[in-house]
Symmetry: C2
Subunit: 175 residues, 2 copies
DNA sequence: TGCACCTAGTAGACATATCTGCTAGGTGCA
DNA sequence: TGCACCTAGCAGATATGTCTACTAGGTGCA
């Protein structure tokens, strides 16, 4: 499962609780992966039974205990193995393109509404990605690790811009 | 479920068997949706029980009977309703970007191998999309229906090109 | 005082997706 | 004759993903 590899990757950066992971899935890695809370916890417990992660309970004052998950040596090995393994099959699935494909029966104006909604979403995304990448771009020359994290944001920015250009074309040419 | 809407959309273009649908999911609509055989058949039977499609058994000589699924009026209404409804949430999930994000522990050369594999995949995809779109582009001015189908291909082409440009940048700048 | 929201995690139902293998015949080829 | 592959569809197991709701306390605000 890719989710377990992604979680392993996050634990390799820092030990985390399920709660921490959920926050990251909703923010910093949201542009390439997302996950449901329940599934994060289930996957974490599987990583533990597989010996790829270990739990350290950290007591807190006034807050619930943290079940910190630390990656093990076996976990690091599994992560590296995944990183260099054959590419995961990537099935494109875009509900918006599906609508466009079948939108021939709609009125022209209805199609333009779909397009306008997509534009709004793309612009919003672009803004978020730029806000996230700004601090990185202003900093000093990055390490390879930093560069790669930034590159995934930059990938999102490049595609958001491409989407906007495509939308321009559709708005201009739609018969 | 989006799959049922996509299948409904295909049945609106022409009556089809599960087998026909599977072929189309593997070819002409593959750039924005894919589906497993078993699930196509299950979804088809649900469309029938929901009154959105009807089965017409067509006898063939030397081949198994075709269970042709025809869209009903209720099906067309459901399709239109979906087309103009609120956008489906689109969660980006790209296993390749996930690898790149966590690839900081790899050697530089290993990262470049990942990048090269991605380039190959992007070039292959671009070639396929161009091959599919060529006959459309050479034809006469398209109807809106034709234009929209072509536009989904063009969307894929635009993004494949964007991906290649991004890969150029990574290969050039990777520390 | 009550309400909304935060931290941290658990439980279970349900929805969707994928994989494997089966039936049953037809065609092409070496 | 045997093998590979095509058409057409069915059955069932397993894997993944999503949704709702619950426990249990803490903080901030009006």
């Amino acid at each position: 499962m890719i989710l377990s590899s992604v979680i392993l990757g996050m634990l390799a950066i820092a030990p985390m609780t399920g709660y921490d992971l959920k926050k990251r899935f909703d923010t910093s890695v949201n542009h390439f992966w997302s996950a449901d809370k329940a599934q994060i916890y289930r996957t974490l417990s599987r990583l533990v039974t597989d010996g790829l992660a270990e739990v350290v309970t950290v007591r807190q004052i006034g807050l619930p205990d943290r079940q910190e998950h630390h990656i093990t040596d076996a976990g690091r090995a599994a992560l590296t193995e995944w990183l260099v393994s054959a590419p995961d099959p990537h099935r494109e699935r875009d509900p918006f393109l599906a609508r466009i494909f079948f939108a021939g029966t709609l009125e022209r104006q209805q199609v333009l509404t779909l397009v306008a909604e997509r534009r709004q979403a793309a612009e919003l995304l672009l803004g978020e990605l730029r806000a996230q990448s700004a601090p990185v771009e202003e900093g000093p020359a990055p390490t390879r690790e930093q560069y790669l994290r930034f590159a995934t944001l930059d990938n999102g920015i490049t595609h958001a811009q491409a989407e906007l250009r495509w939308l321009d074309g559709v708005e201009k040419d739609l018969p």
